[in-house]
Symmetry: C2
Subunit: 320 residues, 2 copies
């Protein structure tokens, strides 16, 4: 007896939290929940935990027979192999064949991709780039993630690892990255971590300039503090966003001259700063574009919740 | 009476010279010739001249009825519109509907694309990336051109102008570009022009260091001179190639983290320097890649003559 497949599971494995949901074919998230990503030394325990949480949710909408499959996004998730490979922020080291392990546990077809790519697919299917064939998503969170869409398809490259724009070098010889050690990468500046590091640099470099930011202990300082102080008119805090936007804008100009997208969509914590980050980013992007590209690219904030985009995008992997 | 279409015309419009040829379906160039690109104030005169040269060549292989069409590569050539738009190095200003004008003159379907993209297609169909689905070509000539292939297709972006990698910024605030005025673009360093400018900078900055390059008048100095002096062991000349390779390698690393290609193919005059340019380029590319990309990307010189690649690639546009 064949049954109509009406639902998909979407799972977004982040460095800290794994979010998952039941998604219908129209992109509605009917149920969702979350578990920590890094409390299971063995990936099989993590899968068992996921299974225990998901089965009741799946039964609520009719049971496993109504499900077309499971889509997953994860750091360093490879769409070709279904494996998570050497993800620096996850506990499971080496190469993890998680798609296969999920299939065995759930008995459902499972597809995996990079988490940032999953978010880009979600944006394309259900967000502000619906119908666009050429765009780039940039997640400004603890790090900088990216998903590139060309001709309506996610760019994964010959080995499945394309789209690591956060690690491109924009200040050769510049600030070392906290984890890769590479000097001057976009992520070292245009992430929440980067904003904090810029704050510390500027406060140290200009001890004579008064700033509300000096009321925080250095090891407590966050990008949110910088945002709050900037909104109160603090000079250094505003300069931090101006500088962050400059670096991000210069990088975006380079990306535009690579793939000439119709839009660039910004996600993630730093976008809460609104125009404080958007205005300098746009200015410096435009200033660094060839005339042929100027005033063409839409630079917009995502209207989807970041976790929704990733769950939706992951689920979309199994509808194809 | 229908006749088998056995041939295509391939035309490569360069800043100085326009090369064209008769190409068969196996990628053999049966006939070829050239005319200057910039001696016709009116593009219609240029087309008339092309027609006068091409007709005898076409008749030699049986006449126009054996031809499937005409493919053209040109600076700022747009595959979507068939127009050359605001090409800084050509005499014809504004937007030139050259594909349509060619169709009217020849009575054959005509397709146009960017010259660097045409070369990449030629490389993919008949050169060292035959069968590869993901690669990038970089032309190191007077300027720096590029063609990007993803999933076996040239990346043209939403407006047809993608792939301007020579204009990406790799030294923010650095050397101004001679024509765009942008600061620190790849082309300002990793082109024949850039090598000459680096030579002048280094000679001026270190007047105490002896160099064979000081035997040339500054306004006569070329990248070929730098190559010859480097081969004779000249210290500054060798440093010029080391520096050029560093900048190129850093840029290539950024491109790899964008689209994760299987290979990067280098064309153009500077490649005559062989290992003088290849070695530092490879070193600095590898040094700036995330571990996941290291030692994976083939960095190779094209084996096609640059003009052949563009004629072949242009002709390939009409076989599809």
């Amino acid at each position: 007896m064949s049954q109509e497949k009406k639902y998909a599971v979407g799972i977004d494995i982040g460095g800290t939290t794994t979010k998952f949901g039941i998604v219908d074919a129209h992109g509605h998230i009917l149920e969702q929940d979350r578990i920590p990503s890094n409390e299971h030394d063995d990936v099989q325990d993590f899968i068992n935990d996921l299974h225990a949480r998901l089965m009741p949710m799946m039964n609520k909408v009719g049971g496993i027979n109504y499900f077309v499959g499971i889509g997953m996004g994860a750091p360093n998730g490879n769409i070709y192999t279904g494996t998570i490979e050497y993800a620096p922020n996850l506990k499971w080291k080496g190469i993890i064949p998680i798609a296969e392990q999920m299939e065995q546990k759930f008995g459902l077809p499972t597809r995996l991709t990079n988490d940032a790519n999953a978010a880009a697919v979600g944006e394309m299917m259900y967000g502000c780039t619906k119908g666009m064939k050429h765009f780039i998503t940039i997640t400004l969170g603890t790090g900088v993630g990216s998903g590139i869409v060309i001709d309506g398809k996610i760019v994964v490259g010959h080995d499945g690892f394309a789209g690591e724009l956060g690690h491109t070098i924009i200040r050769p010889g510049g600030r070392p990255h906290w984890s890769t050690g590479m000097k001057g990468s976009l992520e070292a500046y245009a992430s929440a971590t980067g904003v904090r590091d810029t704050a510390i640099e500027m406060l140290t470099k200009h001890p004579e300039v008064p700033s509300l930011l000096r009321n925080y202990r250095i090891n407590e300082l966050t990008s949110e503090n910088v945002y709050e102080c900037a909104m109160k008119g603090d000079k250094i805090a505003n300069e931090i966003f101006e500088f962050t936007g400059q670096i991000l804008g210069e990088s975006l100009a380079n990306f535009v001259m690579f793939s000439s997208p119709e839009a660039i969509v910004l996600f993630g914590g730093l976008t809460k700063a609104g125009n404080l980050i958007l205005k300098p980013t746009r200015e410096h992007m435009e200033a660094n574009l060839l005339p042929i590209f100027k005033n063409k690219v839409k630079l917009i904030f995502s209207q989807l919740k970041e976790s929704d985009a990733a769950i939706l995008g992951a689920s979309a992997l199994v509808w194809e």
